[in-house]
Amino acid sequence: MLARHAESLFWCGRYLERAEDTARMLDVTYHGLLESPPHEARRSWLDLLVVLNLDAGFLERNLALDAATVSEFLVLDQDNPGAIVAVVGRARENARSVRELVSTEFWEAVNSFYLELQARDLRNDLAQQPYELHGLVKRRCQTVAGVAAETMPRDDGWRFLMLGWMLERAEMTCRLLNVRYGELASVAEVDRFHVLHGVLKSASSSEAFRKVYGASMDPAHLVEFLLLGRTIPRSVLYCLRQAEKDLLRLGEDELGRPQRMLGRIRSELEFQDVQELLEGGLHAVLDQVQRGVRDVAEAIGMQYFRNLRVDLHAVAFAPPAEAVEGA
């Protein structure tokens, strides 16, 4: 397939995952804070921005760290490249540029999602019914994912879409753990449930956790679950394993640079012992995984999206494709 198309699908997946994560975490934070004192709220909002990697963009504007302001920033601020409207807009632009590759159902699901956000009075929604709005975004993202799974052939295009989706999710769960784990380890026993529950809800894994660990509030269980869980669709390991599967198929079982890099990160996690990992320092491990995932994405770009052959006798190279959305 065309290198440019592969890149568009990759980013389309990333943006859709990002939209859903943003809506879900926003929802959890919002509802978790309804009964909390203001100073605690400020800290939670800041944590959320850090998890989403948008803290710098927010802070440089000197905005108030409160529910209304952060919500608007994360949902409808046109100047925030990570806002849900912007992210969905770019997912749609990418889908549009591969319109002839993806199924009509997939395109229509993405397009109608975008059009619905455009048609709504989002500011009013946030003020009056934030829960419904968050729910709408989550449901729409899940619809798109479902439609993709039901209608797209399992070809290379599908693999690039899924790669973007899974790598974004792995990175997001990593950051969520990285930011919230410290808090979990430090709070008093009585507050622990609240924090643990929030983290699990943020990864929509609360019920699954209860099934495995019952009423446990052990932070080690959380790490075992969200980082190393082999069957949990939002655990870091699960996402990396899925991504690796698609990547190996893309390489036709040849091990290129991206395959080797991802395999290394995955196997290091896969054979970790959670106690050893915690003793060695969770942050270091998470930082390493995050960096690794970013490097894999970069290597995928080099291998598949910018395969400039150096031995061409071309008259002149066309300039590199103008920054494909978000690339």
Partner: protein, 497 residues
Amino acid sequence: MAGSLFDGYVPEGFFDEVVDAAGVVRPHYREVVDRLGRLSPDELARRERLRDRAFRSAGITFTVYGEGEDLERTFPMDLVPRIIPADEWDRIEGGLVQRVTALNQFLDDLYVGERSAVRDQIVPQWLIATSDGFQREAFGLPVPRGNRCLVAGIDLVRDANGVYRVLEDNLRNPSGISYVLENRAAMTRVLPTLFGSQRIRSVDHYGASLLSALRFVAPPAAGDPTIVVLTPGVFNSAYFEHAFLARQMGVELVEGPDLVVDEHVVFMRTTRGLQRVDVIYRRIDDDFLDPVAFRSDSLLGVPGLLAAARAGNVTIANAVGNGVADDKAVYAYVPDLIRYYLNEEPILANVETHILWDEDQRAMCRERLDELVVKPVAASGGYGMLIGPAAGSEEIDLFRKRIEANPRGYIAQEVVQLSRHPTLVGDHLEGRHIDLRPFVLSGENVEVIPGGLTRVALRKGSLVVNSSQGGGSKDTWVLAPEVPGEPDEAGDGGGDA
């Protein structure tokens, strides 16, 4: 007159497609008018909403430049179809095949042949040489089988007597076929039994026909050729159509930077390295095609593409340089070119056209500018025109001066009172002016897709049908010839119309 829809409908002296001068519905429209008349206003409004939803969610849009955020619009399709009877279509089809055949021969002769039409003084040499669409770079650029106008979109209008005339030949990058196909798809969904009540010739095979035409012009050495559609990109107003066509044909839709030329061979960049390309259906204008040969500031094109085509390693369709025949001054000579190359009388007439560098014709036109239409020779899409009867004296003076300063730059035409067609306005019908753009493919044979894009000037009294200027469209039904012995009642009498 059946139904309340037609209450108060009057042709107002124009040629009306549906009713004759006496206000009687023409035979080929009777069934449809009758069935539409049975729909209540509420039901019609519901069908319109159904249609709008279908178009919007399918992303069938075109881009309007310079309107800030509202860049994408749906192209409004009127629910009342245009119907062309079989015998009328036969004549149109014959005329189009004849015209495109002659134009292919003229262009091939001009760029790689003996230039005999020029030599024999059918068209003046200087006229060709001064045309904006004429490309020196196309000299010696071979097109297999001489199919230079692989896709032509010939604009037809019907005058006050109902005579079809050619308004312009679009031989470069005619667009609109995607609306033909999508209009048809929408009609069959929104008004299924109305559609089923007629025997209508299909248009769905366009993608397959285009693909075989493109395969037919592949370089002979290509074997099983790789074909691509080349688009300027997602921000082009016709991008939807480019993607649509690639999908219909099952080929890659590429942008300039996706292609690279190495030693006169064109490749596309894929996730598995470079893949050779044999035929490019390009939807980029000549000037932007190759920064080495044309505009060096173009980022849309592919450096070295023209040299690759010259080497015979890739076919570019439509061919480079076709614009010379789109020149409105050259258009005036097309009937003569048909006589010259085919030794036939033209089946479809031109709109009566006056050539302004001819002193006698110019003198005549000078006095009649308030009755004529004046068009710049190189423009399309209705830009920069003078419509004499609607213009003030200042505007007419302005054009008089422009013509004196640059007589080669303009032509004058007699005003054509475009035919009108009943069109839904709110809950009733009003007459609106229409034209017709049929699509003609030059493959193994010259083939016309039945019907084409009927464009409607939605503003009352307006003659401008362009989508960028408030135009809409209609599904266009060409009726199949009646087969003797078959019952002609195809409808099932179902509930929708």
